[in-house]
């Protein structure tokens, strides 16, 4: 992927010397561009918009034919239902959200704590068969996770990890560590090893040098990597639905999916739960957007 970005960067300026609007006949083209982009934006954003609308409509408006885009009565009932059970206690969904937060948070933390030092070691030290090891680590991400669901399920049953948050945390960590190692290795490579050398000559041990000098310079990279790991764990559905069953362990994705089906589906509740579910990662991604861009364009620019 880095290669294609490289090419795009290096050949771009040469090709694009003429202003874009003039290349193939001026206004017509730019109108077409805008129209196409608008169409695309509508296609991409409509479901999101519809989800938000549904979440604030009353049930009768949800089923109204023809559908009402404007002028429906706004209600927050569905959002209340997401968090509060009909009997006034905590709803199953709110428990699921809490579970999601715990599972995603802890697994991201674990993956970072394990992956960052590993990435540092792979970047700094001469390790026997380093390339093969790194390839092996990456290879665990080659297959679709669903392939290993059955073996994992059987193993977990033996170990008593079925239907436990710990089980989910472990499996998400296992999926996030390779990703963290690979992404962080790129960031560590960018930090000159001389900082650590100099610190070691100044009287620090290697670990202190890493802790005090390299680590602070890695914070943007760690933030970007952690957000990616967090999004993966937060959104993960397959393992969550196979490995958990009870309401007090289930994470949000299977819990929301569980609302659909049965005799009737409360679409307003589904929509409201989805909005609540989508918000945290959106906010997170927005907060660290600069680092995310640094993360995905890493290696595109050579020094």
């Amino acid at each position: 992927m880095a290669v294609s970005v490289d090419e795009a960067v290096s050949t771009g300026p040469a090709r694009d010397r003429t202003p874009p609007a003039r290349r193939f006949g001026g206004r017509g083209r730019s109108v077409l561009e805008v129209a196409l982009l608008t169409a695309l934006a509508v296609v991409m954003l409509f479901p999101v918009l519809w989800m938000i609308e549904t979440s604030i409509k009353e049930n009768r408006d949800v089923y109204a034919v023809p559908a009402e885009f404007f002028g429906f009565t706004v209600t927050m009932d569905h959002f209340k239902d997401v968090f509060v059970a009909p009997d006034g206690g905590r709803s199953d969904l709110s428990v699921a959200f809490l579970n999601s937060a715990v599972v995603a948070g802890v697994s991201t933390l674990l993956a970072t704590v394990l992956g960052v030092p590993a990435a540092w070691a792979y970047s700094r030290f001469a390790v026997r068969a380093k390339k093969d090891q790194l390839f092996f680590i990456l290879s665990t991400r080659f297959m679709p996770p669903v392939v290993v669901v059955i073996p994992i399920f059987l193993m977990y049953r033996q170990l008593g990890l079925i239907d436990s948050k710990l089980g989910l945390i472990l499996i998400y960590t296992a999926f996030n560590v390779p990703f963290t190692i690979w992404m962080m290795k790129g960031f560590v490579d960018e930090v000159p090893a001389e900082y650590e050398d100099a610190a070691m000559l100044d009287g620090y041990t290697r670990l202190q040098a890493f802790w005090r000098y390299t680590l602070p310079l890695l914070v943007p990279g760690i933030a970007a990597t952690a957000v990616f790991a967090l999004i993966f764990s937060w959104n993960e559905f397959v393992f969550a639905i196979f490995l958990t069953s009870s309401d007090d362990v289930r994470t949000a994705p299977p819990a929301i999916a569980g609302l659909i089906g049965g005799t009737t589906t409360d679409w307003g509740l589904v929509a409201a739960a989805s909005v609540v579910f989508a918000l945290p990662v959106l906010v997170f991604a927005y907060l660290v957007r600069k680092h995310l861009i640094a993360g995905v364009t890493l290696g595109a620019v050579r020094r």
């Binding site: 026997r128 380093k130 000159p192 050398d197 000559l201 620090y204 041990t205």
Partner: protein, 355 residues
């Protein structure tokens, strides 16, 4: 200050690459010792082993009277200057300088005094309150040098400190380092791949190749009598002409008719190569006395001198350095004459100097 002794150093990485095969060095107290060689010759690894940043596989390193094999870098009492400066980006110049002293736990007053002294030596006064990214490359390297100075270490290790600077600045810094080293009487081990830097700085130069020392000597020794064919081809720009010769009638005769005075003590029955510096040859009018007929292949006008590449019927074209006043066009018929003294002679099979 202290002397440094490296004995039978060998460094092999876990993946099997041998970075340093066998290196013996004996660096005197107060000496500016340069390690020179192409990339991958083991010079930086040797330096890092002296610093303690790499652990040698076998061999001993002694700094002063201390065997430092098992000491961590911090306890070896040395300072190092890196190619990429390695200034802490979040610290001002002043704090970058004070950093190693604070790490040692010196009292504040002494820290201030030593920082001031180093700043004066490297003329950093106006830069003390800036951060590294507000400094130019040359300024950063001066700060890095000053940071090495404040420690008052037993030896300085320099890892290609000038490589990232532009040519003009490099020349200035070269002078500055040489001056500083002389003033402090510091033991300095200086690694570079730039022969001009090595020749102009070093009291002695060690030429490394493939993890082994090819030659150790003063700049003049290294230039006049390269110890091996590798050194002959490495030192000098353009490098020495290597002309295959045979001994006949008490003379060295190359193909193409060039005749050289043989050095005394030349062994018999060996395949020999004579090393002739470009300035030991002369391009003349065709038919001049003692000259062999030749043809100018190409001409490099360098302003202060002209390098002629000349074909005289030998196996290889030779390069000749001439003053800019002597002008021949490319393809001109000329004469080629040897004007230097006795050349150095190498054995082709051992690649070593024989006389």
């Amino acid at each position: 200050m202290a002397d440094i002794e490296v004995k039978a150093l060998h460094k092999r990485y876990p993946d099997g690459t041998v970075a340093v095969d066998h290196v013996d060095l004996s660096i005197g107290d107060g000496e500016l010792f340069v390690m020179l060689g192409p990339s991958g010759c083991g010079k930086t690894t040797t330096l890092r082993a002296i610093a303690g940043l790499e652990r040698q596989t076998t061999g001993d390193i002694r700094i002063g009277d201390t065997l430092v094999n098992d000491l961590p870098p911090a306890e070896r009492d040395i300072a190092m200057v890196f190619q990429f400066y390695a200034l802490y980006p979040h610290l001002k110049t002043r704090d970058n300088l004070a950093f190693p002293l604070r790490a040692e736990g010196l009292p504040k007053a002494e820290v201030r005094e030593r920082v001031a002294e180093a700043a004066r030596l490297m003329r950093l006064g106006p830069l003390l309150d800036r951060r590294p990214r507000q400094l130019s490359g040359g300024e950063q390297q001066r700060v890095a040098l000053a940071r090495a100075l404040v420690r008052r270490p037993r030896a300085f290790l320099m890892d290609e400190p000038l490589t990232n600077l532009d040519a003009e600045l490099r020349a200035d810094m070269r002078t500055e380092i040489k001056h500083l080293q002389g003033e402090l009487g510091a033991t300095m081990v200086y690694v570079t791949h730039d022969q001009v830097e090595a020749m102009s700085l070093g009291h002695r130069i060690a030429i490394l190749n493939k993890g082994r020392v090819e030659q150790i000597g003063t700049p003049l020794e290294v230039y006049d009598r390269p110890a091996s064919l590798f050194c002959a081809a490495f030192i000098g720009s353009p490098p020495m002409n290597l002309i295959e010769v045979e001994v006949a009638d008490g003379k060295l005769r190359g193909q193409g008719g060039l005749v050289l005075t043989p050095p005394p003590g030349l062994p018999r029955d060996r395949h020999l190569v004579a090393g002739v510096r470009p300035e030991a040859l002369e391009v003349t009018e065709p038919g001049a006395e003692d000259s062999v007929p030749a043809r100018v292949v190409s001409v490099e006008w360098l302003g202060d001198e002209i390098i002629y590449v000349v074909d005289h019927g030998g196996q290889r074209d030779v390069r000749v350095r001439m003053p800019p006043t002597v002008r021949f066009a490319a393809d001109a018929r000329v004469g080629l004459r040897h004007t230097g003294g006795t050349p150095v002679v190498y054995d082709v099979s051992t690649e070593e100097l024989v006389a």
